[in-house]
């Protein structure tokens, strides 16, 4: 199985035979990234938790139909993100993120450098705020790709769009973010 540890495939097969412990192990592996995806979509930690929880339960119910030759993470993220979108749609509001830059300086950084435009807390926070100010499509695609480090395939599954759309949307979103950031 390309790109997937053997243990995960074994866990997937065991879970498909109804082994709840194997599935729980899969959930433990992916719950952080799934929760963060849900948080990006809903903008609310409590709703993100509910979405992740319900998404993982729905995935369990559908696990018999998952193709074990495929990587499981994009599939799980797709289900959790979909659950998060539904919740947000029901709430009828835009996600308001409250992401903050965590540390005062980059590890090991002693002074600003051309390689790192984000060298102090204020700059990082400004970049995050510029990102948060983008329209949802742009904000989500950049957050998935850069903040969460998802692959194009995983981002496509999470956003429920084609891989080509991820590419074009990312390019447009970067242009827009650059514009917003420089203007701010």
């Amino acid at each position: 199985m390309e790109g997937r540890p053997l243990e995960e495939r074994e866990l997937v097969l065991r879970a498909q035979r109804g082994d709840a412990r194997a599935y729980e192990e899969i959930v433990r592996t992916h719950q952080q990234i799934a929760f963060r995806v849900a948080y990006l979509v809903t903008g609310n930690a409590a709703e993100a938790e509910d979405a992740a929880q319900e998404g993982f339960i729905k995935a369990w119910r559908a696990f018999g139909r998952f193709k074990p030759e495929l990587p499981v993470r994009p599939w799980l993220l797709q289900i959790v993100a979909n659950e998060a979108r539904n919740r947000r749609r029901s709430a009828g509001r835009r996600a308001q993120l409250a992401l903050r830059a965590e540390r005062a300086a980059l590890p090991g950084a002693t002074a600003p450098s051309p390689e790192h435009a984000v060298v102090d807390a204020a700059e990082r926070q400004r970049l995050l705020e510029a990102l948060d100010g983008l329209p949802d499509d742009a904000r989500l695609v950049l957050s998935c790709r850069f903040l969460l480090g998802l692959s194009e395939e995983e981002t496509a599954a999470t956003l429920d769009v084609k891989r080509g759309t991820v590419k074009s949307r990312t390019a447009r979103a970067l242009d827009r973010l650059k514009e917003t950031y420089e203007r701010a």
């Binding site: 097969l13 498909q16 035979r17 109804g18 709840a20 599935y23 729980e24 959930v27 719950q31 952080q32 929760f35 963060r36 948080y39 930690a45 993100a48 938790e49 992740a52 929880q53 993982f56 339960i57 369990w60 119910r61 559908a62 696990f63 018999g64 139909r65 193709k67 074990p68 992401l99 903050r100 830059a101 965590e102 540390r103 980059l106 390689e115 790192h116 435009a117 984000v118 990082r124 970049l127 995050l128 990102l131 950049l142 850069f146 903040l147 969460l148 480090g149 970067l174 242009d175 973010l177 650059k178 950031y181 420089e182």
Partner: protein
């Protein structure tokens, strides 16, 4: 700042974001757990449930929302007549099956010898939550599902709900007790949403509860075929 620089900044930012702490998810993963049923149309319907009697309440069968008019019991199985049919979709026999495993693997996992019709060879089977299923081509495309009910407190796995008029009857399957359930009822299998099932024969042989389903399966043909499954 150009776009590549912006990409680098975003990548650097990833390690700096103060995400909310990831909660420990508490999942209830009983494979037998099913959603509660929403109210269905009002009609005289037949509900067939195959499940462990001891777990019937935990399974939240629609009995809470639909009046049980009559029921039958087979080893580890309950057939209920109710007044409302739960919602369900029509799907292919094999639509909800897990990926196949070898017969040997399933027998090791489940701990009982899987019964087979003659000339079936060693077909791949689909295992999920203490049940094993296989699609067979003869006497027509059918789905055969087996479960071992060691005792009344053992693991339950199948639940089946059926609508419509009548036609449920006790039958003799080669000397074993059986129930014939005409099609149009609703079936609840493990790990899959409810679906409308075809004609079904339920019977018990050697401690194994078996279920044979086919869209156009005739009662007598089903009984003859079932008698050969050993």
């Amino acid at each position: 700042m150009n776009v590549p620089e912006l990409e680098r900044d975003l990548e650097a930012l990833a390690a700096e974001v103060a995400w909310p702490p990831t909660p420990e998810l508490r999942l209830q993963l009983d494979p037998r757990r099913r959603r509660r049923f929403v109210e269905g149309r009002r009609a005289l319907v037949l509900v067939v449930a195959v499940l462990l009697l001891a777990l019937a309440v935990a399974f939240a069968v629609p009995s809470a929302r639909t009046a049980i008019l009559r029921f039958f019991h087979l080893r580890g199985a309950t057939v209920e007549l109710v007044d409302r049919l739960p919602p369900a979709q029509e799907r292919d026999l094999g639509a909800d099956l897990a990926n196949p495993v070898s017969l040997e693997q399933a027998e090791r996992d489940l701990g009982f010898r899987i019964l087979l019709p003659p000339h079936a060879g060693r077909p791949p089977v689909h295992e999920f939550a203490h049940t094993v299923s296989m699609l067979l081509a003869a006497p027509e495309p059918v789905l055969l599902t087996e479960l071992h009910v060691g005792n009344e407190n053992g693991p339950g796995i199948l639940k089946k709900v059926a609508g419509i008029g009548s036609g449920v009857e006790w039958v003799d399957v080669g000397g074993d007790p059986g129930l014939w359930v005409p099609g149009g009822h609703v079936f609840f299998g493990p790990g899959a949403p409810a679906r409308i099932a075809g004609n079904v024969l339920l019977w018990v042989h050697g401690g194994i509860t078996l279920r044979l389903e086919g869209k156009h399966l005739a009662k007598n043909a089903a009984i003859r075929f079932a008698s050969t499954i050993r």
